[in-house]
């Protein structure tokens, strides 16, 4: 080893942070019970201030309340949790918009975070912020590998845990939960979508950066890459949407995360987003007899005033366009789309990301 090389190594060592100190700080955070199981970034006042500097909101402004657990969350708490989650300060306005969007979901305010269903938010980002902050807008839309997509939903999860005080096995009673809980933040592939972005369906028009969010219970892929007939694909999607396992209320709701290839196929056939929604609204459902044969007679009776047996009437499962938001995400490299089961119903509104004045 030459003298020059040895010196170089010594310089790096001097410039690098102390790993032993960093590990102690990480362990300290675990010991306080703040973690979701993964290491947290220990937050100091200077880091907190960098987060607070990205918003015009006051640190003590309340941005969310859950009356049943007697907790409010303010900007200060949101900033600490976002920093702990691994967000960069410049992500903070997106975290604030995502939290507001999620709390517009009736189920999120009404006990969803405590539920045996263990629901997880689906967060969708639109507009120029996707490129500005380096969101993944292409392949592997559901993750992992990209810091904003990974850390923003984690920030929301930490905020529910630490801000609202909803901990697993105590106020959080998930039976099994779901993979990807607090991990799903999609940046819509607007560049390859043939349609308007989701935020426009949520009332934020004109290419403004915005976030939409809703609670979900799981997702299931529809791999359909061998047919030239768009109606075949729609029937395949309808089949998955019409599964009985998830049907526990009169109406259900799904987010359709279409790959660019499927979306473009529908658009080439002359279909708008609304056409796709309307096609599915008419066809997704099952007969009362099918529901009864799978132990869902109560759903049939209560929801559709059906009989316990022999009810051959077809019952639609979806209510209207907001019960089936359509998003385009992922790479244009295979015809694989995702049916995402919504826990309650999307609020149908999106939240613009506030720019600091």
């Amino acid at each position: 080893m030459t003298a020059a090389n040895t010196e170089g190594a010594a310089d790096v060592a001097a410039a690098a942070p102390d790993p032993d100190e960093a590990q102690r700080a990480i362990e300290y955070c675990y010991e306080q019970g703040w973690s979701d199981g993964l290491p947290l970034v220990p937050v100091s006042k200077p880091l907190l201030e960098a987060f607070l500097a990205t918003t015009d909101k006051d640190a003590d402004e309340i941005i969310g309340s859950l009356e049943q657990v007697g907790r409010d969350v303010n900007v200060y708490l949101a900033a600490i949790n976002a920093a702990m989650a691994g967000c960069k300060p410049e992500y903070f306005p997106v975290v604030l918009a995502a939290f507001e969007a999620l709390l517009r979901d009736r189920a999120a305010r009404g006990g969803g975070f405590q539920s045996t269903s263990g629901p997880s938010p689906l967060i969708v980002v639109n507009g120029p912020v996707r490129k500005e902050l380096g969101f993944n807008t292409a392949g592997g839309a559901f993750g992992p590998g990209f810091r904003p997509n990974a850390t923003i939903p984690r920030a929301i999860g930490l905020l529910v845990r630490n801000g609202f005080g909803i901990h697993p096995h105590v106020l959080e009673q998930a039976t099994q939960g779901l993979p990807g809980r607090w991990q799903v933040c999609i940046a819509e592939n607007e560049e390859e979508s043939p349609w308007e972005p989701l935020a426009e369906n949520g009332g934020v028009a004109g290419g403004v950066s915005a976030v939409s969010a809703t609670l979900t219970r799981t997702m299931e892929f529809v791999d359909n890459r061998h047919t030239p007939n768009h109606e075949d694909v729609l029937r395949d999607l309808a089949d998955t949407i019409s599964r009985i396992g998830s049907q526990i209320f009169p109406l259900s709701s799904v987010a359709l995360v279409l790959c660019p290839e499927h979306a473009q196929m529908f658009a080439s056939a002359g279909m708008s987003k609304q056409d796709v929604q309307n096609w599915l609204l008419e066809r997704c459902g099952r007969t009362g007899a099918e529901l009864s044969s799978m132990g869902k007679a109560e759903v049939n009776r209560k929801s559709f005033r059906g009989e316990y047996e022999g009810d051959e009437t077809f019952h639609k499962f979806l209510a209207g366009p907001t019960s089936i938001p359509v998003i385009v995400a992922g790479a244009k490299n295979a015809a694989i789309s995702m049916v995402v089961r919504i826990f309650g119903e999307w609020s149908g509104t999106s939240v613009p990301i506030a720019e600091k004045k």
Partner: protein, 182 residues
């Protein structure tokens, strides 16, 4: 002096009452107005109706009935007021899910603080969440009745059996002072 590591946890808001008092118990249920607060979960209605029927038989109680506005969250103030005005004691349940078991405990604590003895019934899977909610509402150690989980899948006969089994606990909750009050 290094920077401190900042605490990300919230603190309770004013909605949380410090130390909610337990209502004075009824001396007996004889002829009392008993409110059934039904949380709409599967089998909650037949369960509470059977408890009510047994109390009618035994103590000649007068039953009133009301459905929870939203099973997942505690009842709004106006409903609490109406319950207090219209009943001498309240029985609520059946808490058999994450949010509704917590809400049953919360309703119990709020009604107790308003002077009404309550028997909340939850399934035994949700004891930790009911306890946590009661503590959050200023009543750590709040007493309620439990029945084995699950209730939603029980047949009509089994629901009646369960209601009969929990009856003594319900009566005790409504009439016996806590040990430290005796």
């Amino acid at each position: 002096m290094p920077n401190a590591i900042l605490d990300p946890t919230g603190t309770a808001t004013s909605a949380v009452k410090p130390a909610a008092p337990r209502a004075p118990r009824a001396k007996s249920l004889q002829g009392k107005r008993v409110g059934l607060l039904i949380n709409t979960k599967q089998n909650a209605r037949p369960f509470l109706e059977e408890v009510g029927r047994l109390l009618e038989e035994k103590y000649d109680v007068i039953l009133t009935q009301r459905t929870k506005v939203n099973f997942a969250v505690p009842e709004p103030e106006d409903v609490i007021k109406e319950l207090v005005a219209g009943n001498d004691v309240v029985i609520t349940g059946v808490g058999d899910c994450g949010s509704c078991s917590a809400a049953a405990a919360a309703d119990g604590v709020v009604l107790e603080a308003a002077g009404l003895p309550v028997a909340a019934i939850i399934t035994d899977s949700f004891i930790p969440t009911a306890d946590a909610m009661a503590a959050l509402r200023g009543a750590p150690g709040y007493k309620y009745a439990t029945t084995a989980h699950p209730v939603a899948v029980l047949t009509e006969d089994k629901v009646k059996e369960r209601a009969a089994q929990v009856l003594d606990d319900v009566v005790a909750l409504l009439t016996e002072p806590a040990k430290d009050e005796a």
